[in-house]
Amino acid sequence: MKEFTYKINDEIGIHARPAGNLAKIAKESECDVTISSKGKNADLKKIFSVLSLAVKCGDEIKITVDGRDEAETAEKIKKYLTEKL
């Protein structure tokens, strides 16, 4: 299992487009991916789930990746977050 935290810097937070792109990365992997924020969890593969967390600028999120290609997936997600959010 791989875990890491990240602080969102994008002014709008996790809006529809990044939620969609993160979901894509998660779905392409063979892992279970969870995103947690402010005490609530959501399945990163589900856009609506992620959107209802309403993650904003300055919020800290925790990503948990569990599965065969967890190291690779965690890296991809981290890269996306750092570049886009």
């Binding site: 602080k7 529809a16 593969k45 789930s49 959107l51 209802s52």
Partner: protein, 547 residues
């Protein structure tokens, strides 16, 4: 004449004839069905058809608009592929043995409820997207299809009225014929609002129930900034509109004439003509209006509307963005000045009788050194990305200035120890916005690199007149001799110490005062972006003063 009041989602003014777009969706009939697997198949087929349709909408939008506007349809497809919606529909069909139409409606409601629960503007606005997808699915299920690709006929200068506008509805509209959007509901981040801003036409949201009382073809004036709609405008409304249009045209002419020209008086004195802004979104206005720098960047936007304090890293990234955008042009960021008419949840402020003269500005920061340190560190770290100057607000004493500057020096030492770079030449200035500061400006000038006179507060405190109390509007006089004397003294003391002095209050934007301010000795004027060019015109035509 009827007047509707809403909220501005996109600025500008327009006049046109009304066209109401009615919501034609009918509530789905609930039917019990025997063959559940067949119904699930039906649903799956509808989903595939809908994805195809939305794909076509995406292509079509790309043809006539930007990637950004078309993007929403890609997001719709993502939402369909997501599984949340379709899984929810399927379970409803399984559990209740009902028809797909009913399941789709139920599922859409459930997902919308979750988004509404966040009480977040942006998320709540996405319920419109769910509504859109739901309608597309229902349309596919009913076999009607292709309704989406039919375009609606519009007259020139149409003002669109609707309860809410979904992306699919807006795609069917001929953009060239639209003068403005008015919706009963909607959010600032809705597709229609974003579209309006891209098209640079006014859009007003939240006017409330009105569609049922409006007739197609009626003339109407839309004032984006004010959020007001005048239906069947009377003579006064029409003449106001014409005046505003004339102003806008004048401004546009000025733009052509004065953009790129230096702000030099007839006497040859170069004046720094900067802009006042309060958010990252406003940065574009600074360059659009050809301001030579930012004379006042209100940093409160980082604190307002947040549950938690913005930490050093968040602030650093924001300041860095600003400096990089400004590409080396002087950028003066004012440190936190919360209080008076601005409040921030994360600062846990207590209610004050008199916030304008209360716990705010530098006094609040010096009493909360941790918060202040975080801001100063972020500013210093960001300073290597441009030409940053820092300005302290609400100064009333020498001690405040000395303490604040010492904090900056201490932070510089800490950064140096940790090998974190900062701009060694960073300039520190203070706001002269209290009578006290103006009167002791001779003692303050040697301590800092520049002054910026905040005339709004200065006038308020000098004339003992609350600028938010309309009952005393007639007392609030920017050109009162007491105020002008304080400005003159401040400028004189600044120059005696060899530092520059600027003006960043509303007075700086008053073109009737430009000549006076320059005569009093102002070296810099910082104004709201749309006033930069009009003020430049005044500067160029002023005698100026070499004092």
């Amino acid at each position: 004449m009827d007047i509707l009041q809403g909220v501005c989602a996109s600025g500008g003014i327009a006049v046109g004839r009304i066209k109401v777009i009615k919501d034609e969706s009918k509530p789905a009939q609930k039917r019990t069905i025997q063959n559940v697997p067949a119904e699930i198949e039906r649903l799956k087929n509808a989903v595939e058809i809908t994805k195809e349709q939305i794909g076509k909408l995406y292509e079509k939008t790309l043809e006539s608009a930007t990637e950004e506007e078309a993007e929403i349809f890609q997001i719709h497809i993502m939402m369909l592929e997501d599984g949340s919606l379709t899984e929810c529909c399927e379970s409803i069909i399984y559990e209740q043995s009902v028809n797909a139409e009913y399941a789709v409606t139920e599922a859409a409601d459930i997902l919308s409820a979750a988004l509404l629960d966040t009480k977040d503007d942006y998320m709540m606005g996405r319920t419109t997207d769910i509504e859109d997808i739901k309608n597309e699915l229902l349309s596919a299920l009913s076999g009607e299809g292709n309704k989406l690709n039919s375009e609606m006929f519009l007259e020139e200068n149409t003002v669109i009225f609707a309860h809410d506008l979904t992306p699919s509805q807006t795609v069917r509209l001929d953009k060239n014929k639209i003068a403005a959007f008015v919706t009963e509901q909607g959010t600032k981040n809705s597709h229609a609002a974003i579209l309006a801003r891209t098209m640079k036409i006014p859009s007003i949201i939240g006017v409330g129930n009105c569609i049922n009382n409006i007739i197609n073809g009626e003339e109407c004036i839309v004032n984006g900034e004010e959020g007001t709609v005048f239906i069947s405008p009377d003579e006064k409304a029409k003449s106001d509109f014409n005046k505003q249009m004339a102003n806008i045209e004048q401004r546009e002419q000025a733009l052509l004439k004065l953009k790129g020209k230096p702000s030099i008086t007839k006497n040859g004195k170069r004046i720094k003509l900067y802009a006042n802004i309060g958010s990252i979104e406003d940065l574009k206005k600074v360059t659009d209006n050809d301001a030579e720098g930012i004379g006042l960047f209100r940093s409160e936007f980082l604190y307002i509307g947040r549950h938690e304090l913005p930490d050093e890293e968040t602030q650093f990234k924001a300041y860095k963005k600003v400096l990089e955008y400004m590409q080396g042009k002087e950028t003066i960021i004012r440190t936190l000045d919360i209080g008076a008419d601005k409040t921030a949840e994360c600062l846990k402020q207590t209610k004050e009788e008199n916030p304008a003269m209360g716990y705010r500005g530098i006094r609040m920061c010096l009493d909360n050194k941790e918060i202040f340190t975080a801001q100063l560190r972020a500013l210093l770290r960001a300073s290597v990305y441009g030409k940053l100057s820092i300005m302290f607000p609400m100064i009333v004493s020498k001690e405040e200035v000395i303490t604040a500057i010492k904090m900056v020096e201490d932070i510089k030492c800490c950064l140096k120890e940790d090998n974190i770079p900062y701009d060694e030449n960073i300039k520190i200035g203070i706001m002269i916005e209290t009578p006290a500061a103006a009167l002791i400006s001779d003692e303050l000038a040697p301590l800092v690199d520049f002054f910026s006179i905040g005339t709004n507060d200065l006038v308020q405190y000098t004339l003992a007149c609350d600028r938010q109390n309309h009952k005393v509007d007639n007392i609030y006089n920017q050109s009162h001799s007491a105020v002008l004397q304080l400005i003159k003294t401040t400028c004189h003391n600044a120059h005696t110490s060899g530092i520059w002095v600027g003006i960043c209050g509303e007075m700086a934007a008053d073109t009737n005062m430009t000549e006076t301010l320059l005569e009093l000795g102002a070296d810099e004027l910082s104004v709201s972006p749309s006033y930069v060019l009009p003020v430049r015109e005044r500067i160029i035509n002023s005698g100026g003063n070499h004092a």
